[in-house]
């Protein structure tokens, strides 16, 4: 960055000029202490209504068992794994923004990391519903999934990718929540000191843990943040790698591929950035956050989406190439069947959504105009779901023996559970923007001149 050297305060170009500690606190905390806009109630009501669909679908599942879903031979893995991978992938952008961009000292992450981390936590919560409920008896899942000394003296099989997945995802969920909460503490202290009602003062006060902004505390706090960023980076890369092992460690054509880990990680970040933009563009417009989420932020996020999208598209090309180059009839059949078989429509829609339409992001004009960019991101969200559908279903539905071929038909309960998790996600996200600062107040303060002692050696 050429203009970096000219800046007196590192990262100052990422907020509108003229802000100081007070104006930043007033603007962001004011969203919570001020009047709730009507649009919030509308959005929350929509999310909360869709959430009811999830509750009904899960209740019925617990009564009847997984037979209400469309999974059967030969497609034994259906919506549950597709939706699990889709949601967990979406979470990855939040960790990338909060951890990897922190290690690279990318100041533009400061205005978007809080909401993106919230998105991570909520997306992982939605993802977790699928593996837990696909067991049919979630109250028994404890000894299937976690190693605890149960009365049958059984232990999980640590050679299985599914157990690796349990460890990766539960670690990811825990570390994401811890990282998010640690980042919230100074802002919770700000909210404690600004809250008007005694109840909210108490609640913010309890969760702020008595934070008082001591310089000695800040030093340890910043060290801990940096350490957590350094730990989250290998963690987030491992999570989708392990998710891809669920497939790649098997011997199914279309799954058994060495390209899966990097291709899944890139896909996760791609889907996640598209979802971050899907959330941020309306959020910025509704709450007038243009001073903090500037055109540069939107442009940078769109660039990351484009770059990771190209890696994903390279993955599709390699899948097709290795189908041919393997000289293995099952591999060749798998890719031919994907492109021309009964699910060809899904495959070509996927190529359109993830490979072709995102090329519009090469244009700066599209990257910086919110309506077309929002449309491209919605296309990517759909495309990444189609990708998981194509990988799971087309690889399974026609296996080695033509006698066992079949088709997969998701039922109304599959769809209700999937759409219902979107309701859960929206509900949690709306509650988040209502009660917690959606932009990290203290980190935005560091982008102003008041936070930097002039003529100091530690500057920058």
């Amino acid at each position: 960055m050429l203009d970096h050297a000219k800046e007196e305060v590192p990262g100052a170009r990422y907020i509108a000029p003229g802000h100081n500690f007070g104006s930043i606190s007033d603007k962001i905390a004011g969203i919570i202490t001020g009047r709730t806009p009507f649009s919030w109630f509308v959005g929350f009501l929509i999310g909360f209504s869709i959430l009811q669909l999830l509750l009904v679908a899960l209740t019925y599942l617990v009564f009847k068992g997984t037979g209400i879903w469309g999974v059967n031979n030969p497609v034994g893995w259906g919506f549950a794994i597709i939706n699990f991978v889709w949601w967990i992938g979406i979470g990855h952008a939040g960790t990338l923004i909060s951890a990897i961009l922190m290690l690279f000292r990318q100041h533009w992450r400061t205005s978007i990391n809080r909401a993106a981390e919230a998105m991570t936590v909520f997306a992982v919560a939605c993802a977790a519903i699928f593996p837990i409920f696909h067991t049919g008896r979630p109250w028994l899942a404890a000894y299937w999934l976690f190693p605890y000394p149960n009365s049958m003296a059984l232990w999980p099989n640590f050679r299985s990718p599914l157990i690796w997945d349990v460890f990766a995802v539960s670690t990811y969920a825990t570390v994401s929540i811890v990282f998010w909460y640690i980042g919230l503490i100074p802002d919770l202290a700000t909210m404690r000191d600004r809250a008007k009602s005694p109840i909210s003062q108490r609640l913010y006060g309890i969760f702020a843990l008595g934070w008082r902004g001591s310089a000695i505390h800040w030093q340890r706090y910043e060290t801990a943040s940096l350490m957590l960023a350094g730990l989250s980076t290998p963690l987030v890369l491992s999570v989708h790698t392990v998710v891809s092992f669920d497939f790649a460690v098997s011997v199914i054509p279309g799954w058994h591929a060495t390209i899966f880990p990097p291709y899944f990680v890139a896909g996760a970040i791609y889907a996640g950035f598209a979802m971050v933009l899907t959330l941020m563009i309306p959020m910025r417009a509704l709450y007038g956050l243009h001073d903090f989420i500037t055109e540069r932020h939107i442009d940078n996020m769109a660039k990351v989406t484009l770059a990771t999208g190209l890696i994903v598209f390279y993955g599709y090309c390699m899948e097709a190439f290795f189908g041919w180059y393997s000289a293995n009839q099952f591999e060749q059949f798998m890719i031919t069947n994907r492109m021309t078989g009964p699910y060809a429509g899904y495959y070509w829609a996927l190529i359109m959504c993830n490979g072709v339409i995102p090329q519009l992001l090469w244009s700066r004009k599209i990257r910086t105009s919110v309506v077309p960019l929002f449309a491209v991101c919605m296309v990517v969200n759909v495309g990444m779901w189609l990708e998981r559908f194509v990988i799971v279903v087309t690889s399974l539905h026609r296996d080695f023996l033509p006698g066992s071929w079949g088709m997969y038909y998701p039922t109304v309960w599959d769809w209700s559970t999937f759409i219902g998790t979107m309701g859960l996600f929206l509900t949690l996200f709306y509650l988040f923007i209502r009660v917690l600062p959606m932009i990290s107040i203290f980190e935005i303060r560091t982008l102003t001149p008041a936070a930097h002692a002039k003529g100091d050696a530690h500057h920058g």
């Binding site: 100081n20 500690f21 606190s25 190693p147 003296a153 059984l154 232990w155 999980p156 099989n157 640590f158 050679r159 690796w164 460890f167 990766a168 670690t171 825990t174 570390v175 811890v178 990282f179 909460y181 640690i182 202290a189 700000t190 000191d193 006060g205 843990l209 008595g210 934070w211 008082r212 902004g213 001591s214 310089a215 000695i216 505390h217 800040w218 030093q219 340890r220 706090y221 910043e222 060290t223 801990a224 350490m227 957590l228 730990l231 290998p234 963690l235 491992s238 203290f442 980190e443 303060r445 560091t446 008041a450 936070a451 930097h452 002692a453 002039k454 003529g455 100091d456 050696a457 530690h458």
Partner: protein
């Protein structure tokens, strides 16, 4: 012994400054004057401020490392003990000690315990949660410390502390305001 009587019930003297530059200058002046038991309070991390107060704490990163080592050993021990000793099971002819497969849960537990040790250790060393602290007795601190205020508090535990003299010293640094902090 007059000094001791005078400072009973007093946590320290607090001065408020306009911005990070003035606060940093005041901290450096107080340190040069010989004060050690003091703390500065800001609403955002100010680089170099803790060092100027004479603090350079590296215990958090040590805890990260210890947590990582415990997570690594504990994770591998869990896989090894369950799969080799307590419940040996032949899975597709793989060795009982399938350390390559065990490396993945071990990797995750290493990160998990490191992260928990980092976050928990940071809070513990900072003495948080701490529902009550004397600095909150100052009204200006309660209102602005978490948004616009820059404060320096010289504490009564400092051997050089003397209510009147420390106050005069802080006045010489041209603060916006000076307050006594009741314990």
């Amino acid at each position: 012994m007059a000094d001791v009587q005078q400072t009973a019930g007093v946590h320290g003297v607090m001065a408020e400054f306009a911005d990070a530059t003035e606060l940093m200058a005041a901290v450096k002046a107080a340190y040069a004057d010989g004060y050690r038991q003091m703390d500065a309070y800001t609403a955002a991390p100010i680089h170099g401020l803790a060092e100027a107060l004479g603090h350079d704490d590296r215990r958090v990163q040590k805890l990260t490392f210890i947590g990582g080592v415990l997570g690594f050993l504990g994770g591998f021990a869990l896989c090894y003990w369950t799969s080799v000793i307590d419940y040996p099971l032949n899975i597709g002819g793989r060795p009982l000690n399938s350390w390559v497969a065990f490396s993945i849960p071990t990797y995750e537990t290493t990160i998990l315990l490191s992260a928990l040790a980092t976050a928990g250790g940071m809070l513990a060393i900072n003495g948080l949660p701490m529902p009550y602290h004397p600095v909150f007795n100052v009204e200006a601190f309660r209102k602005t410390a978490s948004s616009t205020g820059f404060f320096l508090c010289i504490e009564a535990t400092d051997p050089r502390f003397d209510l009147a003299r420390t106050r005069v010293f802080l006045e010489g640094l041209h603060p916006k305001a000076i307050n006594e902090v009741n314990a």
